[in-house]
């Protein structure tokens, strides 16, 4: 199942041209763009690993695409996303965050039920992929 985290996540995968257009929109709005990756698909996993620093001084989307391409090449079977941070005084938050790469197979989540006292049930999600250690969850890519 395709995880639906971030903007555009219900749409089919964006092409590189569309990603470039989105990146240019972020740069035009003076947001700083950063690339992040992870292989832990849980929706509560907020802080992904950073690929380099946020790009504050890159004025064109093709420069950011170089970093995106480098991250995809280094981690071919991880989730990779791009986040744009709006530093304006009244906002100071992530303005846009969308996935640019997914692993080829996304097994999805299991609903864990835990029975408590007086037959109350507590629910959590556990990703099927999380059963394996980090780096081995989606295979090793092309090796």
């Amino acid at each position: 199942m395709r995880i639906t985290q971030g903007t555009f996540s219900y749409l089919p995968d964006l092409t590189d041209e569309e990603i470039k257009d989105q990146l240019q929109y972020c740069i035009d709005n003076e947001w700083s763009v950063a690339v992040e990756f992870t292989d832990d698909p849980h929706p509560r996993n907020v802080y992904w690993e950073m690929w380099g620093l946020p790009m504050f001084d890159v004025p064109d989307a093709s420069g950011v695409m170089l970093e995106v391409a480098a991250c995809r090449e280094a981690y071919p079977v991880h989730y990779v996303r791009v986040s744009a941070f709006d530093a304006q005084l009244t906002r100071q938050t992530t303005a846009l965050s969308f996935l640019v790469q997914r692993p080829p197979e996304e097994p999805g989540f299991q609903l864990d039920r835990q029975e408590g006292p007086d037959r109350t049930i507590r629910y959590t999600l556990r990703g099927y992929a999380s059963g394996s250690p980090e780096g081995q969850r989606y295979g090793r890519g092309e090796g």
């Binding site: 004025p59 093709s62 170089l66 970093e67």
Partner: protein, 326 residues
């Protein structure tokens, strides 16, 4: 997952998305195309603001003409690939290489070949690291910032020192070569330096030489061109050179050109600056003086005649005189 019909790949919904190519025997009016594209404004500005530099202006005209031809070709449905735009500027100091590189960025942006038209100016130190593994990230950072504009590498021959095998410049050159080839649409690289050393650099890096489409040599300025540049610089600072001053200035330039360490337009700029200082001193040091606006703007012959250029023997080469003559 099936893609919803998006613009571009599917059939166009409105008729202005895909233009029908013209008939085989249609005829296009060049003047009209030229007017629509507005290249003349760009070229005329260049003519006015830069003095001399005929080879540069010729090359830029050719690139602008290619742009017009590409537009006409696309109207007939013919393909038009983006031309190779990497350049190499060779010439003596002060001949305008950096200035033209900056203008080139604006120009190519005005012609539509560059998306942003900003200039990133670097030398070897910005590209090459001090230890193993330092060079690649440094060069890539610079390239990222330059995308969509022009990367201007000054004194490019320092990048690759053939005789020192522990030099990390070769790594930087390799990354540059790769990006110059693969990201041709996003970036224009302009190298600059002295002609003989750039020739040696290209001989030892044939890959670099073959990727450079335009090798442009910047000739030294003539006296008349330098005088015109002096006029432009003075006007920029809102100073006036009356007739008698221009004659003295001409004389000064002729003498200064024969002396060592003459740096073309940069020396002219220094001369104007020095004349401004002398003028200021002259206006302020007379007791009980009052000045008019005209006097504040005029540079008189006395402001140039006070220079050592006139008093020193122009044939004597003083090698241990490290002070610049102004």
């Amino acid at each position: 997952m099936p893609r919803p019909a998006a613009g571009g790949s599917a059939a166009p919904s409105s008729e202005d998305e895909v233009e029908q190519p013209l008939a085989e025997d249609a005829v296009l009016d060049v003047d009209e195309i030229r007017r629509e594209s507005d290249v003349d404004a760009v070229l005329d500005r260049l003519d006015v603001e830069l003095v001399g530099l005929l080879p540069v202006k010729t090359r830029i005209r050719e690139i602008a003409a290619l742009l017009l031809v590409d537009r006409m070709r696309s109207q007939f449905g013919l393909s038009s690939s983006r031309p190779a735009l990497h350049m190499s500027f060779t010439g003596s100091p002060g001949t305008g290489k950096t200035t033209v590189a900056l203008r080139m960025a604006e120009l190519l942006h005005g012609l539509g070949y560059l998306r942003r038209g900003h200039l990133v100016s670097v030398t070897r130190d910005d590209l090459v690291g001090q230890y193993i593994g330092h060079t690649a990230p440094k060069t890539k950072e610079v390239l990222k910032r330059a995308m969509g504009g022009v990367l201007f590498i000054d004194e490019a021959y320092y990048l690759y020192k053939e005789d020192n095998e522990r030099d990390y410049g070769a790594e930087s050159v390799e990354i540059l070569l790769q990006v110059m080839e693969n990201q041709r649409d996003d970036l224009v690289v302009i190298l600059a330096g002295y002609k003989d050393r750039m020739d040696a650099f290209f001989r030892s890096n044939p890959g670099m030489s073959s990727r450079i489409a335009h090798h442009i040599d910047f000739p030294d300025y003539t006296v008349d061109e330098l005088a015109a540049i002096a006029g432009l610089i003075a006007a920029e600072h809102e100073y006036v050179l009356p007739g008698d001053t221009t004659a003295v200035l001409h004389d000064y330039l002729e003498k200064r050109m024969r002396q060592p360490r003459f740096a073309n337009a940069r020396s002219v700029r220094n001369a104007i600056e020095r004349a401004r200082l002398r003028q200021a001193n002259r206006l302020v040091s007379e007791p009980g003086a009052s000045v008019t606006k005209q006097q504040l703007q005029e540079l008189t012959p006395a402001d140039f005649l006070a220079s050592r250029v006139f008093t020193e023997d122009s044939d004597r080469q003083s090698d241990d005189d490290t002070r610049g003559v102004c």
